[in-house]
């Protein structure tokens, strides 16, 4: 398994990892809320 964060400086790797985590968390929270509509 290769590291998808390779090729980036560590600062950008942290930023990318944080963006990814927060995006997934936000999407799942929104999905939970959208059950009320769907």
């Amino acid at each position: 398994m290769t590291d998808p964060l390779q090729g980036l400086p560590s600062r950008r790797r942290i930023r990318l990892a944080m963006t990814l985590i927060l995006a997934v968390l936000t999407l799942v929270i929104l999905g939970f809320g959208l059950r009320a509509i769907g």
């Binding site: 398994m1 390779q6 090729g7 942290i14 990892a17 968390l25 929270i29 059950r35 009320a36």
Partner: protein
């Protein structure tokens, strides 16, 4: 296993309560009510996950480095705060006891002082905890006082948050989720107890004493410790330790310092410490014989495990030379034949640490030592300015040095610039190791 595995592991932990809530199949309330519950569930799970991102668990830090984990701890705490702040304001259903027929509490928020006060207390404390962590220097809190406050505050927030979820939560009333919250809380508090109680108890049987404190540069000291027990510290050259000098084994007054000695050189462990603030201001006044405690090893800044690299480049700024000195000493002690270059940046000549020893290493081990001064004295014939892209190109451009191992330690701005420049030269980021102790 690559460092990226930590991301899905974190997501599983942070989303576990919400996933279990989803699986309950309760009839949803309004969009905003459901959003509010989801934000609360995720915020609390993130708060509990913070206890595992203390930078002290080797199974985590050896993959990403303690500095990266601590940075993640800071950023994720701020994100948890955002979700927690939103949580109470998103609810739109009336805050009254649900009617008797509404067994799933679909039409009203389970409101009452008993249910709400733990949540309100945790909510207020969380804001205070994040604010004091960000503004510690501005407020002027002493490091050890802040650590105590931070640890106790975190436990209080976790406990109150879980209590609030169990008493007020629509989804957390489910027995499975109830037990998951209790288990996560127990694990979180257990993690903290491990760091501050169990690990010190183990350390108690391995006391150290200060053997010498010697000035090695302007406001910079070499502190050597000798073990007062049979055995020695288990570490690799370049790693760091949490060091506590002259305090009790349970003292919170411990700081991370890079080890500058070579593991194969003997049982003594040496540190290079610069007077920067708090504890380090008093370092020159420490007397030999003083009791010390070591929590080691930590960090991933080491050449060991990278035996395939045909050469090693060490790039240091200021006192960041400490772990690199440990690596150079180890390379020399073990007779490692690989070519080695040290680029060492300082403001002026008086800040060069162990200058004579570096010269000896250059002569005996063949290390190419390049001093770079931003404020050079008259007659200085070495490199001047900063360790920048041009200097790095001069020394490391070309296919021959692309597969070398690059080990960096210094101030954040320097590390970021050097890392970017090395990647621009075609060095794969997997060949670059860096570590910083200032996270912001």
């Amino acid at each position: 296993m690559p460092v990226a595995i930590l991301i899905p592991l974190y997501l599983i932990l942070a989303l576990l309560p919400l996933t279990l809530a989803w699986a309950q199949g309760l009839p949803p309330r309004s969009f905003l009510d459901e959003l509010a519950s989801a934000a609360g569930l995720v915020a609390l799970a993130m708060i509990l996950a913070e206890f595992f991102l203390l930078g002290r668990f080797r199974s985590i830090t050896r993959r990403a480095g303690s500095d990266v984990i601590m940075r993640a701890h800071q950023l994720l705490a701020r994100a948890a705060l955002v979700f927690a702040v939103l949580h109470p304001f998103l609810y739109v259903s009336p805050m009254t006891p649900p009617p008797v027929w509404d067994v799933t509490a679909r039409t009203a928020i389970n409101y009452g002082w008993t249910q709400m006060w733990p949540g309100i207390a945790a909510w207020l404390l969380l804001g205070g905890l994040v604010a004091t962590a960000i503004g510690r220097d501005i407020i002027g809190l002493r490091y050890e006082g802040w650590r105590l406050l931070h640890g106790l505050g975190a436990v209080a927030i976790a406990g109150l948050g879980v209590l609030h979820a169990l008493r007020a939560g629509r989804y957390s009333a489910d027995p499975l989720l109830e037990w998951v919250w209790i288990a996560l809380l127990a694990l979180a508090v257990g993690a903290l107890l491990h760091v501050y109680v169990i690990a010190p108890l183990i350390r108690w049987r391995r006391p150290w004493r200060v053997a010498s404190v010697i000035p090695v540069a302007e406001r910079t000291w070499a502190v050597t410790l000798s073990p007062d027990f049979d055995g020695q510290a288990d570490y690799k050259a370049g790693q760091f330790a949490w060091l506590n000098i002259g305090r009790g084994v349970f003292s919170l007054n411990e700081n991370p310092f890079s080890i500058a000695s070579a593991p194969s050189a003997g049982r003594d462990v040496a540190f290079i410490i610069k007077e920067l603030g708090d504890f380090t201001r008093t370092i020159g006044r420490i007397t030999p014989g003083t009791r010390a405690w070591l929590e080691a090893p930590h960090g991933h800044l080491t050449h060991e495990g990278h035996g395939a690299a045909p050469g090693i480049a060490l790039i240091a700024g200021g006192v960041g030379v400490a772990p690199l000195l440990g690596i150079l000493r180890e390379l020399a002690a073990t007779g490692d034949p690989r070519p080695t270059v040290l680029l060492y940046g300082n403001r002026h000549e008086g800040q060069i640490v162990c200058g004579e020893e570096l010269q000896d290493l250059a002569d005996s081990h063949g290390t190419e030592v390049v001093h770079v001064l931003s404020e050079p004295p008259e007659g200085w014939t070495g490199a001047t300015g900063l360790i920048d892209a041009d200097l790095l190109r001069t020394h490391f451009e070309g296919a021959a040095r692309r597969d070398w191992l690059y080990i960096l330690c210094g101030p954040p701005a320097m590390l970021n610039a050097v890392e970017e420049a090395l990647i621009a030269l075609g060095i794969p980021s997997s060949h670059i190791l860096s570590e910083q102790f200032v996270y912001d």
